[in-house]
Amino acid sequence: MSVALSDVGLWVLVGLVVGWLAALTDRASDEGVLADVAIGVIGACLGGLATWLLPVSSRSPLILSIAAAMVGASVLLAVVRAITTARWSR
């Protein structure tokens, strides 16, 4: 596996934006904003890395990289939200 290093910056950027937007829409507290941003970055990197497992080309296209990072960040944020909401509602 060989990841273009500029892709890493893109995934961090996408993850931060998605996490920040999620925190804004949820009107999260200060700690909540930080957690959403961190989860967004982790999810975007996981999503971005997943594109390297696809048999597309030696370097995945920009749109695919952005889309995968957005999906990864959104899915991880949704999963974490679902888990924390379920815990609080018990």
Partner: protein
């Protein structure tokens, strides 16, 4: 002393210093920060030298390897003073994550010294990831107190130059050329900070915009250094930068 023991000892010193910084006020705080940053640099350097001696390889003395550990520790000192870290859990998490980041940086630097290392690619990937995350943390921390441009723009310029030196280290480019490109990009991002100081946006939005500027600039320079800078690549970087700026400014300026 084994590598792992040295690293645990060093991580303990960094964690203790970060914890102490939360109950210390200036000017003692600046002294504490200086001592912890210097200890982190010298400790990381000793680990790297021990690593090379164990492999009976030529002793390499590279000041560039001091930059990232120092930046992570300095960034942690700044970030832990943001308003997010007022509760006990947040402080413990902040100190723990900062120390883990420092350990990850030192370990990845050990494996990024030679392209023959089997973990070289993974180490460069993690270092780049941590460089961008550190840049965002420091940009937000510098932008948050809304200091005068003379201080905030200068701080952002210095951080950008140091981060770029670490990013370009993986491009196998000579030191002077890397410093030239890093300085140009540092000045450009500093100029963006100066312009941003006229906008009323939050620290996260400010950090995001500065990170977008760093991503576009560093991406174009890295493409140029690896001989892959084409019109299409340039258009892609410009598109991503424009989209990020439009999105952050659009959302950031919405009435809350």
């Amino acid at each position: 002393m084994a590598h792992a023991d040295r690293l645990v000892l060093l991580a303990g010193v960094v964690a203790a210093g970060l914890g102490l910084s939360l109950i210390t006020t200036p000017p003692l705080l600046w002294l504490l920060a200086g001592v912890v940053i210097a200890t982190a640099c010298v400790g990381a350097d000793q680990l790297i030298h021990a690593h090379w001696r164990a492999r009976r390889r030529r002793r390499r003395y590279d000041l560039l390897l001091w930059i990232f550990p120092a930046l992570v520790v300095a960034g942690a000192f700044l970030v832990l003073r943001l308003p997010f870290f007022e509760s006990g859990i947040a402080v413990v998490l902040g100190v723990g994550v900062s120390t883990a980041l420092f350990v990850a940086v030192v370990m990845c630097q050990l494996h990024s010294l030679s392209t023959d290392d089997p973990r070289y690619r993974l180490a460069r990937f993690v270092l780049s990831l941590l460089a961008y995350v550190t840049a965002f943390g420091m940009y937000s921390a510098i932008y948050a107190p809304r200091l005068r441009s003379a201080f905030s723009a200068t701080g952002v310029t210095v951080v950008t130059v140091l981060i770029c030196l670490e990013l370009f280290r993986g491009q196998q480019v000579d030191g002077r050329r890397a410093l030239l490109y890093a300085s140009v990009l540092g000045l450009a991002v500093g100029e963006v900070t100066w312009a941003l100081n006229y906008w009323l946006i939050g620290p996260l939005a400010g950090g995001l915009l500065l990170l977008a500027a760093l991503y576009v600039g560093a991406g174009i320079i890295q493409s140029h250094l690896s001989g892959q800078l084409t019109a299409r690549a340039l258009a892609e970087f410009a598109g991503v930068g424009t989209a990020a700026v439009a999105l952050v400014l659009g959302v950031g300026l919405l009435p809350s």
